[in-house]
Assembly symmetry: C2
Homo-oligomer: 185 residues x 2
């Protein structure tokens, strides 16, 4: 199963977006490592904003498949897998896609913003449902409602991928563990 050039561009674009920032990489940063010309990238994605749209859609696809795969798992295990996923983001020196898009939000075209919004709602809804299910099953304890708890978990964990670039790796594990402990206390 060989990866198409289009797919390679999206993956490398995503990597650059989350390692350096949307306005900190150029088409040259994509074309050089793939040994193609700048114009070839423009062939697949006429503008950089088109590439951003594709990256956001790619994340929606991945998350869609992830949530399907997790559907029959226990709420606690789903949350653990989710947090481990963010741990792998941290280890690969990237930040979460939500934050990467959010900080450069006002330099993104509406078509990009819409895709990012759809992806983010997908994640928040999935997390909210997971929390609600955990509460119903008596596996979680929280004083807040499901969506608020979901928002706090999401913001804590995606901010951590950013924060630990500045402080230390150890702080990521602190936050990650505290999220799980807090729901169990």
């Amino acid at each position: 199963m060989s990866t198409s050039t289009r797919e390679k561009i999206i993956q490398l674009g995503d990597d650059l977006l989350r390692k350096r920032g949307f306005n900190a990489f150029s088409y040259a940063d994509i074309s050089k490592p793939l040994h193609i010309k700048n114009a070839a990238v423009h062939y697949h994605f006429p503008s950089k904003q088109d590439l951003a749209v594709a990256i956001a859609q790619w994340h929606k696809d991945i998350f869609g498949r992830f949530s399907l795969k997790m559907a029959n798992k226990e709420p606690k295990d789903r949350l653990k897998t989710f947090l481990n996923f963010y741990h792998s983001i941290h280890l690969s020196e990237k930040v979460d896609i939500i934050g990467a898009f959010a900080t450069d939000w006002h330099s993104l075209e509406p078509k990009v913003q819409t895709e990012v919004q759809e992806f983010t709602e997908l994640v928040i809804n999935w997390l909210s449902e997971l929390i609600q299910e955990g509460l119903d099953l008596g596996q979680f304890r929280t004083t807040q409602n499901a969506r608020t708890t979901a928002l706090r978990i999401l913001s804590s964990i995606f901010a951590s991928t950013q924060l630990v670039r500045i402080t230390s790796d150890h702080d990521f594990t602190r936050v990650k563990n505290s999220i799980l402990e807090e729901l169990n206390n």
Copy 2:
């Protein structure tokens, strides 16, 4: 008390950094509104990275004065003022400076990174002390240690300034209130 050109450049630079992103604004975006020439900005800050250093130092100054002013207040009131400060960031359509720098981290020179690290440590230490004091006085309840709680509060609140650009304003208030409630439960 008139504001110097240097000060105006820092304030506008900070505004652009937190509204658009570090790599999404240029010296022209600063010189035009201030009715000076591009080269005048370079006179005060030879490189863009020098401007970033000055912005980070400016935040250290502001936070230093803020923490002095808050020194004799109750832990709970200090935290409320801190959270209200982030609310004003949200209302002015900016994101927190920590996240703004973090997402573009790998495009920043070491001298900028050092300043940002110093500012961040200042905030985390201040928050940790506040939490510890609140725990000692029996005003707060938490199952985590002070630094971990501080990290979770900071990450939740600064991520919220980013997240609500994508979701809705209402989500900011949800998170803000939940931080206070969680310490009181």
